[in-house]
Symmetry: C2
Subunit: 336 residues, 2 copies
């Protein structure tokens, strides 16, 4: 039963051909265009494939015909449910065309992103879905110019040839802060990431606009800059707020993971929410409605966004910019 593989681990198409007593071309035809092969030989070849447990060598295949079936995706943080929900949407779309997802997390680090892009390109991926961690698009544009299609995820493209699926961040942040202002809060903290991250810059803009429109001074916003948009970052930042900005009565968090961390700190210091501190998150991830207390958050359709982005990539039509409208979901963390 063991195959005569001359020490090689995997059977090649030549091994199959030898075993079935046909040429390699015929085996290839059985694999790719079975209708061109007679019933009889097809059966013989298929038997040989079974016997040898033959598996195609994807590298050789791709080298020859250059049609990759892998799509690369780079998200900011693989532990953020917003991005895994988006990844799930991507997978939903890819599996339709039996493509595989190669997922990487840049951890908001441009250098890590560059490394991943390089690996993806060497790999010859069919295309790349990416949430860039900063404003610079040169590496991405060059990648595209060299022939790898790119779609931006959770970031509006200003390049006419690059599609994107995003959400209006300015509007989303405005909804959040306006809500806090409507509730009577005047001293509001904003736990944000570096404004080099576009989402952070845009939401900051929205937050400040909301203040301005309400006749308040945008600079009255107490801004904290987290080095990492994670629950750990949120926890540390909220501690700072409590220690150094005791006037603050409401906090807007750049995302729900940060809000989660903020809740850790508030709980630890026995600050009641919302009476001691109102809290708004962003993304409306799955756990938001059952936090203690249920978290007010700005909803983004993560899964649909991922699906759509993958669809734009595979579809290959003209570039287009899809912009979703965010929605404020009010729960007891603000209106308790």
């Amino acid at each position: 039963m063991a195959a005569p593989l001359n020490g090689r681990a995997r059977a090649s198409i030549a091994d199959v051909a030898a075993r079935a007593g046909v040429s390699v071309g015929t085996v290839s035809n059985v694999l790719n265009r079975p209708e061109r092969v007679s019933k009889h030989t097809r059966a013989r070849v298929e038997a040989a494939v079974q016997d040898l447990a033959f598996v195609r060598n994807g590298s050789a295949r791709q080298l020859r015909q250059g049609v990759p079936s892998v799509v690369g995706a780079i998200v900011l943080d693989i532990e953020n449910p917003f991005f895994t929900a988006a990844a799930r949407g991507v997978e939903d779309r890819l599996s339709r065309d039996s493509h595989t997802l190669m997922l990487g997390s840049s951890d908001e680090d441009p250098a890590r992103q560059a490394r991943l892009l390089q690996q993806f390109e060497e790999h010859g991926v069919r295309g790349v879905l990416i949430t860039p961690p900063d404003e610079t698009m040169t590496a991405i544009e060059q990648l595209r110019e060299r022939g790898t299609p790119v779609v931006l995820l959770d970031r509006l493209s200003d390049h006419p040839d690059i599609s994107s699926v995003s959400v209006d961040n300015v509007h989303g942040a405005k909804l959040a802060v306006r809500h806090l202002l409507d509730l009577g809060h005047t001293d509001i903290a904003f736990l944000n990431g570096h404004t080099s991250i576009p989402q952070c810059a845009e939401r900051r803009q929205g937050a400040r606009q909301a203040l301005a429109e309400a006749g308040a001074d945008p600079d009255s916003l107490v801004e904290l800059t987290l080095s990492s948009l994670s629950s750990e970052g949120g926890s540390a930042a909220m501690s700072t707020v409590l220690e150094e900005h005791s006037e603050v009565t409401a906090t807007f968090c750049i995302n729900d993971m940060v809000a989660l961390g903020a809740l850790w700190s508030l709980r630890e210091r026995r600050v009641a929410v919302p009476s001691g501190m109102a809290l708004v998150g962003y993304d409306d991830v799955s756990f938001a409605p059952v936090l203690a207390p249920p978290l007010t958050s700005v909803r983004q359709p993560a899964r649909e966004m991922g699906f759509r982005a993958a669809d734009l990539l595979l579809g290959g039509g003209p570039a287009q910019q899809v912009v979703h409208r965010p929605e404020l979901v009010i729960r007891t963390s603000t209106a308790g």
Copy 2:
């Protein structure tokens, strides 16, 4: 500046060689063993690489030398924070050796797993990390026999040649249910997945053992079988418990996502936790401590597990079974 690529999108090593006025072998040497090349020519080649924006063709490279730098991983559910934390651990380890992660989610479906395995194998991955959704290991063993190393993640291997990193599920479940019994609960529901999933079978065994050891009838456990180990599944199952098993005062959930869903339902029906229903989860994911109420859960070191699994895969030493010990983290969802 544009390169003479004869219509091809990407520059090849031959293009670089032509531009630099050297042979392809020399270019290859600059790329792989720069010390063998004189400073002068190296500079010329590097300039050409820059000019042409040359990127290695990974397929050709792998075809030739057969050393893949991609590791495949298949988890049960990409939206479960336990698995993304594990994936993060995997990435931590892979990035040390500049390997890339190819991540797939089987969604607990053996057919999906088979498809992913096939794609990974065709791709020629360096190895596979996998949490199998059922007991059958034939596809996995065959993959290994054909030369692709495999490490089981979150599942004990009974095959001497296959390494694994797991946690003692029987013990974990026993801790959880014993805790509920200690609190005086006698009517306990267990929101479990199909027992074809090994983790589910093992935790069921632990739950029943806890009952037996306490002198109770193991069959008194009210078992619900969810088709999906997600928050949606947990929500639906908890609704059933409330409607059809009003005697139940405590529920053990197979994981924290299910517990999250259960909380949705409890909140919707205004059942207080733990007074109306005590709740225990499994995994102790990041949001567990700040749920309403904070969730008692069985902790598993997800990130370390992923790291270790990747380490075993890349290390290539003799197969070994790493078994972690779970830990019960008691919070107010049971002992409020």
